[in-house]
Protein backbone atom coordinates (compact mmCIF):
# COMPACT_ATOMS: atom_id res chain seq x y z
CA UNK A 1 0.00 0.00 0.00
CA UNK A 2 2.88 2.36 0.84
CA UNK A 3 4.21 1.86 -2.67
CA UNK A 4 0.84 2.74 -4.19
CA UNK A 5 0.60 5.90 -2.07
CA UNK A 6 4.16 6.83 -3.09
CA UNK A 7 3.27 6.26 -6.75
CA UNK A 8 0.12 8.42 -6.48
CA UNK A 9 2.15 11.16 -4.77
CA UNK A 10 4.52 11.23 -7.71
CA UNK A 11 1.59 12.47 -9.84
CA UNK A 12 1.65 15.76 -7.90
CA UNK A 13 3.83 18.67 -9.06
CA UNK A 14 7.15 18.93 -7.17
CA UNK A 15 6.19 22.23 -5.52
CA UNK A 16 2.96 20.71 -4.14
CA UNK A 17 4.77 17.56 -2.98
CA UNK A 18 7.39 19.59 -1.17
CA UNK A 19 4.73 21.62 0.62
CA UNK A 20 2.04 19.02 1.37
CA UNK A 21 3.61 15.64 0.47
CA UNK A 22 4.48 14.54 4.01
CA UNK A 23 1.00 15.45 5.35
CA UNK A 24 -0.74 13.84 2.36
CA UNK A 25 1.26 10.62 2.80
CA UNK A 26 0.43 10.55 6.52
CA UNK A 27 -3.29 11.06 5.83
CA UNK A 28 -3.37 8.48 3.05
CA UNK A 29 -1.60 6.01 5.34
CA UNK A 30 -4.37 6.33 7.99
CA UNK A 31 -7.05 4.53 5.96
CA UNK A 32 -5.87 4.06 2.40
CA UNK A 33 -8.73 2.24 0.68
CA UNK A 34 -9.19 2.03 -3.07
CA UNK A 35 -11.38 5.18 -3.06
CA UNK A 36 -8.78 7.14 -1.13
CA UNK A 37 -6.03 6.02 -3.48
CA UNK A 38 -8.14 7.01 -6.50
CA UNK A 39 -8.89 10.38 -4.88
CA UNK A 40 -5.18 10.85 -4.14
CA UNK A 41 -4.26 10.07 -7.77
CA UNK A 42 -7.04 12.29 -9.19
CA UNK A 43 -5.91 15.09 -6.90
CA UNK A 44 -2.42 14.71 -8.36
CA UNK A 45 -3.76 15.02 -11.91
CA UNK A 46 -5.80 18.09 -10.90
CA UNK A 47 -2.81 19.78 -9.28
CA UNK A 48 -0.58 18.87 -12.21
CA UNK A 49 -3.10 20.41 -14.63
CA UNK A 50 -3.39 23.46 -12.38
CA UNK A 51 0.35 24.02 -12.45
CA UNK A 52 1.04 22.84 -16.01
CA UNK A 53 -2.38 23.56 -17.52
CA UNK A 54 -1.07 25.75 -20.34
CA UNK A 55 1.53 23.13 -21.25
CA UNK A 56 -1.25 20.51 -21.28
CA UNK A 57 -3.34 22.68 -23.66
CA UNK A 58 -0.33 23.09 -25.98
CA UNK A 59 0.34 19.32 -26.03
CA UNK A 60 -3.36 18.53 -26.53
CA UNK A 61 -3.59 21.00 -29.41
CA UNK A 62 -0.50 19.46 -31.07
CA UNK A 63 -2.02 15.96 -30.79
CA UNK A 64 -5.30 17.30 -32.17
CA UNK A 65 -3.49 18.91 -35.12
CA UNK A 66 -1.83 15.57 -36.01
CA UNK A 67 -5.20 13.79 -35.80
CA UNK A 68 -6.89 16.57 -37.79
CA UNK A 69 -4.23 16.41 -40.53
CA UNK A 70 -4.77 12.66 -40.72
CA UNK A 71 -8.51 13.24 -41.18
CA UNK A 72 -7.76 15.87 -43.82
CA UNK A 73 -5.54 13.38 -45.71
CA UNK A 74 -8.14 10.59 -45.43
CA UNK A 75 -10.84 12.97 -46.66
CA UNK A 76 -9.09 13.86 -49.92
CA UNK A 77 -11.39 13.42 -52.96
CA UNK A 78 -14.24 12.08 -50.81
CA UNK A 79 -16.78 13.75 -53.12
CA UNK A 80 -15.76 11.39 -55.95
CA UNK A 81 -16.80 8.36 -53.90
CA UNK A 82 -20.18 9.67 -52.66
CA UNK A 83 -23.24 10.00 -54.93
CA UNK A 84 -24.21 13.68 -55.55
CA UNK A 85 -27.54 13.23 -53.73
CA UNK A 86 -25.79 12.08 -50.54
CA UNK A 87 -23.17 14.81 -50.30
CA UNK A 88 -25.12 17.54 -48.46
CA UNK A 89 -24.62 16.29 -44.87
CA UNK A 90 -20.93 15.29 -45.16
CA UNK A 91 -20.18 18.53 -47.07
CA UNK A 92 -21.80 20.63 -44.32
CA UNK A 93 -19.95 18.63 -41.64
CA UNK A 94 -16.65 19.10 -43.46
CA UNK A 95 -17.24 22.86 -43.83
CA UNK A 96 -18.00 23.01 -40.08
CA UNK A 97 -14.77 21.10 -39.42
CA UNK A 98 -12.73 23.57 -41.46
CA UNK A 99 -14.42 26.60 -39.86
CA UNK A 100 -13.89 25.23 -36.34
CA UNK A 101 -10.24 24.46 -37.20
CA UNK A 102 -9.75 28.09 -38.23
CA UNK A 103 -11.46 29.34 -35.06
CA UNK A 104 -9.41 26.98 -32.86
CA UNK A 105 -6.15 28.04 -34.53
CA UNK A 106 -7.05 31.71 -34.03
CA UNK A 107 -7.74 31.08 -30.33
CA UNK A 108 -4.41 29.22 -29.90
CA UNK A 109 -2.57 32.11 -31.59
CA UNK A 110 -4.43 34.59 -29.35
CA UNK A 111 -3.33 32.58 -26.31
CA UNK A 112 0.28 32.66 -27.51
CA UNK A 113 0.06 36.43 -28.14
CA UNK A 114 -1.39 36.94 -24.66
CA UNK A 115 1.54 35.06 -23.10
CA UNK A 116 4.14 36.87 -25.25
CA UNK A 117 4.86 39.73 -22.79
CA UNK A 118 5.46 37.19 -20.00
CA UNK A 119 7.72 35.17 -22.33
CA UNK A 120 9.75 38.30 -23.14
CA UNK A 121 10.02 39.10 -19.42
CA UNK A 122 11.32 35.57 -18.84
CA UNK A 123 13.98 35.97 -21.54
CA UNK A 124 15.05 39.41 -20.21
CA UNK A 125 15.19 38.07 -16.64
CA UNK A 126 17.79 35.44 -17.53
CA UNK A 127 15.53 32.64 -18.80
CA UNK A 128 17.22 32.58 -22.20
CA UNK A 129 19.29 29.39 -21.51
CA UNK A 130 16.10 27.43 -20.72
CA UNK A 131 14.31 28.27 -23.95
CA UNK A 132 17.14 28.91 -26.42
CA UNK A 133 17.72 25.27 -27.42
CA UNK A 134 14.01 24.39 -27.97
CA UNK A 135 13.52 27.61 -29.97
CA UNK A 136 16.58 26.95 -32.15
CA UNK A 137 15.45 23.35 -32.74
CA UNK A 138 11.96 24.53 -33.70
CA UNK A 139 13.35 27.19 -36.06
CA UNK A 140 15.70 24.64 -37.70
CA UNK A 141 12.89 22.10 -38.22
CA UNK A 142 10.62 24.82 -39.65
CA UNK A 143 13.36 25.96 -42.06
CA UNK A 144 13.85 22.33 -43.14
CA UNK A 145 10.10 21.85 -43.63
CA UNK A 146 9.94 25.07 -45.67
CA UNK A 147 12.82 23.87 -47.86
CA UNK A 148 11.13 20.49 -48.40
CA UNK A 149 7.84 22.27 -49.25
CA UNK A 150 9.69 24.44 -51.76
CA UNK A 151 11.30 21.33 -53.32
CA UNK A 152 7.89 19.66 -53.67
CA UNK A 153 6.40 22.84 -55.14
CA UNK A 154 9.28 22.99 -57.65
CA UNK A 155 8.25 19.60 -58.99
CA UNK A 156 10.76 17.34 -57.22
CA UNK A 157 8.01 14.97 -56.15
CA UNK A 158 9.95 11.81 -55.32
CA UNK A 159 9.09 9.45 -52.45
CA UNK A 160 12.25 10.57 -50.60
CA UNK A 161 11.36 14.28 -50.75
CA UNK A 162 7.77 13.57 -49.72
CA UNK A 163 8.95 11.46 -46.77
CA UNK A 164 11.46 14.13 -45.74
CA UNK A 165 8.69 16.75 -45.94
CA UNK A 166 6.39 14.65 -43.71
CA UNK A 167 9.14 13.99 -41.15
CA UNK A 168 10.19 17.66 -41.06
CA UNK A 169 6.62 18.93 -40.72
CA UNK A 170 5.98 16.53 -37.83
CA UNK A 171 9.35 17.44 -36.29
CA UNK A 172 8.42 21.16 -36.55
CA UNK A 173 5.13 20.54 -34.76
CA UNK A 174 6.85 18.55 -32.00
CA UNK A 175 9.68 21.09 -31.69
CA UNK A 176 7.30 24.07 -31.41
CA UNK A 177 5.25 22.12 -28.87
CA UNK A 178 8.40 21.46 -26.81
CA UNK A 179 9.35 25.15 -27.07
CA UNK A 180 5.82 26.19 -26.01
CA UNK A 181 5.94 23.81 -23.04
CA UNK A 182 9.39 25.15 -22.06
CA UNK A 183 7.97 28.69 -21.97
CA UNK A 184 4.69 27.67 -20.30
CA UNK A 185 6.58 25.91 -17.50
CA UNK A 186 8.56 29.03 -16.58
CA UNK A 187 6.53 32.14 -17.38
CA UNK A 188 4.76 33.98 -14.58
CA UNK A 189 1.24 35.08 -15.58
CA UNK A 190 -0.83 37.59 -13.65
CA UNK A 191 -4.15 36.27 -12.26
CA UNK A 192 -6.02 38.32 -14.91
CA UNK A 193 -3.94 36.85 -17.75
CA UNK A 194 -4.44 33.35 -16.32
CA UNK A 195 -8.20 33.90 -16.33
CA UNK A 196 -8.08 35.12 -19.94
CA UNK A 197 -5.91 32.14 -20.95
CA UNK A 198 -8.43 29.85 -19.23
CA UNK A 199 -11.27 31.40 -21.26
CA UNK A 200 -9.30 31.00 -24.48
CA UNK A 201 -8.56 27.36 -23.55
CA UNK A 202 -12.29 26.82 -22.97
CA UNK A 203 -12.89 28.24 -26.45
CA UNK A 204 -10.25 25.91 -27.89
CA UNK A 205 -11.93 22.96 -26.16
CA UNK A 206 -15.23 24.10 -27.70
CA UNK A 207 -13.69 24.27 -31.18
CA UNK A 208 -12.15 20.82 -30.66
CA UNK A 209 -15.54 19.42 -29.60
CA UNK A 210 -17.14 20.87 -32.72
CA UNK A 211 -14.37 19.44 -34.94
CA UNK A 212 -14.66 16.01 -33.34
CA UNK A 213 -18.44 15.99 -33.81
CA UNK A 214 -18.12 17.27 -37.38
CA UNK A 215 -15.61 14.51 -38.17
CA UNK A 216 -17.96 11.87 -36.75
CA UNK A 217 -20.89 13.26 -38.78
CA UNK A 218 -18.75 13.46 -41.93
CA UNK A 219 -17.62 9.85 -41.42
CA UNK A 220 -21.21 8.70 -40.95
CA UNK A 221 -22.12 10.57 -44.15
CA UNK A 222 -19.36 9.13 -46.35
CA UNK A 223 -19.82 5.57 -45.12
CA UNK A 224 -17.06 3.17 -46.12
CA UNK A 225 -15.10 5.75 -48.18
CA UNK A 226 -12.52 6.45 -45.46
CA UNK A 227 -10.19 3.86 -43.92
CA UNK A 228 -12.01 2.92 -40.71
CA UNK A 229 -9.06 2.03 -38.41
CA UNK A 230 -7.09 5.19 -39.29
CA UNK A 231 -10.17 7.39 -38.91
CA UNK A 232 -11.17 5.70 -35.64
CA UNK A 233 -7.64 6.28 -34.28
CA UNK A 234 -7.85 9.96 -35.29
CA UNK A 235 -11.26 10.35 -33.65
CA UNK A 236 -9.96 8.73 -30.47
CA UNK A 237 -6.98 11.10 -30.41
CA UNK A 238 -9.33 14.05 -31.02
CA UNK A 239 -11.59 12.95 -28.15
CA UNK A 240 -8.64 12.47 -25.76
CA UNK A 241 -7.07 15.84 -26.58
CA UNK A 242 -10.46 17.59 -26.30
CA UNK A 243 -11.00 16.08 -22.84
CA UNK A 244 -7.48 17.08 -21.76
CA UNK A 245 -7.97 20.66 -23.00
CA UNK A 246 -11.34 20.98 -21.24
CA UNK A 247 -9.87 19.68 -17.97
CA UNK A 248 -6.81 21.94 -18.29
CA UNK A 249 -9.00 24.98 -19.04
CA UNK A 250 -10.90 24.44 -15.77
CA UNK A 251 -7.69 23.98 -13.81
CA UNK A 252 -5.81 26.97 -15.27
CA UNK A 253 -8.36 29.47 -13.91
Amino acid sequence: MKRRVAFALRLYPRRFRERYGEELAALAAEEAGVRDLADLALGGVRERLREDGLAAVICAWALFVVAGCNVQKLAEHWQDAVPPGSRAVPAAAFDALVAAAAAGSALVLAGAALALPAALRLVRAGGRPYVRRPLLAAAACTAGAAAATAALAAGRQSFGVALAWLVLVLASLVAWTVAGVAFAARIELSPRTRRLEARLATGVAGAMTLMTLATAVWWAGVGSFAAAPALAASLLAMLASTALTAAAARSVS
Partner: protein, 102 residues
Protein backbone atom coordinates in the same frame (compact mmCIF):
# COMPACT_ATOMS: atom_id res chain seq x y z
CA UNK B 1 -19.74 28.48 -2.07
CA UNK B 2 -22.17 25.57 -1.97
CA UNK B 3 -22.98 23.73 1.25
CA UNK B 4 -21.00 20.64 0.25
CA UNK B 5 -17.99 22.50 -1.19
CA UNK B 6 -14.77 21.18 0.37
CA UNK B 7 -13.48 24.73 1.10
CA UNK B 8 -16.68 25.62 3.00
CA UNK B 9 -16.59 22.34 4.92
CA UNK B 10 -12.96 22.94 5.89
CA UNK B 11 -13.62 26.54 6.99
CA UNK B 12 -16.61 25.33 9.03
CA UNK B 13 -14.53 22.61 10.66
CA UNK B 14 -11.72 25.02 11.54
CA UNK B 15 -14.23 27.43 13.11
CA UNK B 16 -14.10 25.24 16.24
CA UNK B 17 -10.30 25.37 16.41
CA UNK B 18 -7.14 24.28 14.65
CA UNK B 19 -6.98 20.78 13.13
CA UNK B 20 -4.64 18.66 11.04
CA UNK B 21 -5.66 16.73 7.92
CA UNK B 22 -6.94 13.58 9.62
CA UNK B 23 -8.91 15.53 12.28
CA UNK B 24 -10.45 17.66 9.53
CA UNK B 25 -11.47 14.56 7.59
CA UNK B 26 -13.06 12.96 10.68
CA UNK B 27 -14.80 16.15 11.82
CA UNK B 28 -16.26 16.90 8.38
CA UNK B 29 -17.54 13.34 8.09
CA UNK B 30 -19.15 13.67 11.53
CA UNK B 31 -20.98 17.00 10.99
CA UNK B 32 -21.68 16.89 7.22
CA UNK B 33 -21.69 13.17 6.41
CA UNK B 34 -19.18 13.85 3.64
CA UNK B 35 -15.87 12.03 3.49
CA UNK B 36 -13.22 14.11 1.75
CA UNK B 37 -10.49 11.97 0.21
CA UNK B 38 -6.87 13.00 0.78
CA UNK B 39 -6.45 14.52 -2.71
CA UNK B 40 -9.67 16.55 -2.46
CA UNK B 41 -8.89 17.66 1.12
CA UNK B 42 -5.35 18.86 0.43
CA UNK B 43 -6.32 20.43 -2.92
CA UNK B 44 -8.87 22.53 -1.03
CA UNK B 45 -6.39 23.27 1.79
CA UNK B 46 -3.87 24.52 -0.80
CA UNK B 47 -6.47 26.83 -2.43
CA UNK B 48 -7.61 28.19 0.95
CA UNK B 49 -4.02 28.83 2.00
CA UNK B 50 -3.28 30.58 -1.31
CA UNK B 51 -6.26 32.87 -0.72
CA UNK B 52 -5.11 33.61 2.82
CA UNK B 53 -8.23 32.10 4.40
CA UNK B 54 -6.36 29.52 6.48
CA UNK B 55 -2.77 29.23 7.71
CA UNK B 56 -0.53 26.57 9.24
CA UNK B 57 -0.61 26.68 13.03
CA UNK B 58 2.55 24.70 13.61
CA UNK B 59 5.83 23.55 12.18
CA UNK B 60 5.99 21.41 9.04
CA UNK B 61 5.50 17.73 9.66
CA UNK B 62 3.21 14.77 9.19
CA UNK B 63 0.44 16.30 11.29
CA UNK B 64 0.69 20.03 10.69
CA UNK B 65 -2.44 21.76 12.04
CA UNK B 66 -4.28 24.57 10.23
CA UNK B 67 -6.36 27.43 11.59
CA UNK B 68 -8.68 30.11 10.24
CA UNK B 69 -7.26 33.55 9.52
CA UNK B 70 -9.39 36.63 10.15
CA UNK B 71 -10.07 36.77 6.38
CA UNK B 72 -11.14 33.12 6.59
CA UNK B 73 -13.56 33.88 9.43
CA UNK B 74 -15.08 36.71 7.40
CA UNK B 75 -15.35 34.52 4.28
CA UNK B 76 -17.07 31.81 6.33
CA UNK B 77 -19.53 34.32 7.82
CA UNK B 78 -20.38 35.65 4.35
CA UNK B 79 -20.83 32.14 2.91
CA UNK B 80 -23.04 31.11 5.83
CA UNK B 81 -25.13 34.30 5.46
CA UNK B 82 -25.70 33.44 1.78
CA UNK B 83 -26.71 29.90 2.66
CA UNK B 84 -28.95 31.20 5.48
CA UNK B 85 -30.74 33.51 3.02
CA UNK B 86 -31.44 30.53 0.74
CA UNK B 87 -32.62 28.40 3.68
CA UNK B 88 -34.90 31.23 4.91
CA UNK B 89 -36.34 31.81 1.45
CA UNK B 90 -36.96 28.10 0.91
CA UNK B 91 -38.55 27.69 4.34
CA UNK B 92 -40.81 30.72 3.87
CA UNK B 93 -41.96 29.57 0.43
CA UNK B 94 -42.59 26.02 1.62
CA UNK B 95 -44.69 27.30 4.54
CA UNK B 96 -46.62 29.62 2.23
CA UNK B 97 -47.25 26.77 -0.20
CA UNK B 98 -48.39 24.34 2.50
CA UNK B 99 -50.53 27.12 4.08
CA UNK B 100 -52.14 27.84 0.70
CA UNK B 101 -52.78 24.15 0.09
CA UNK B 102 -54.45 23.70 3.52
Amino acid sequence: MRANDPPLLILTSLASGQKHGYSLQQDIEAFAGVRLGPGTLYGAIARLEERGLIEPAGAAGRRRPYRLTSAGSRALEEALAELRAIVDTGTTRLRAASGGAA
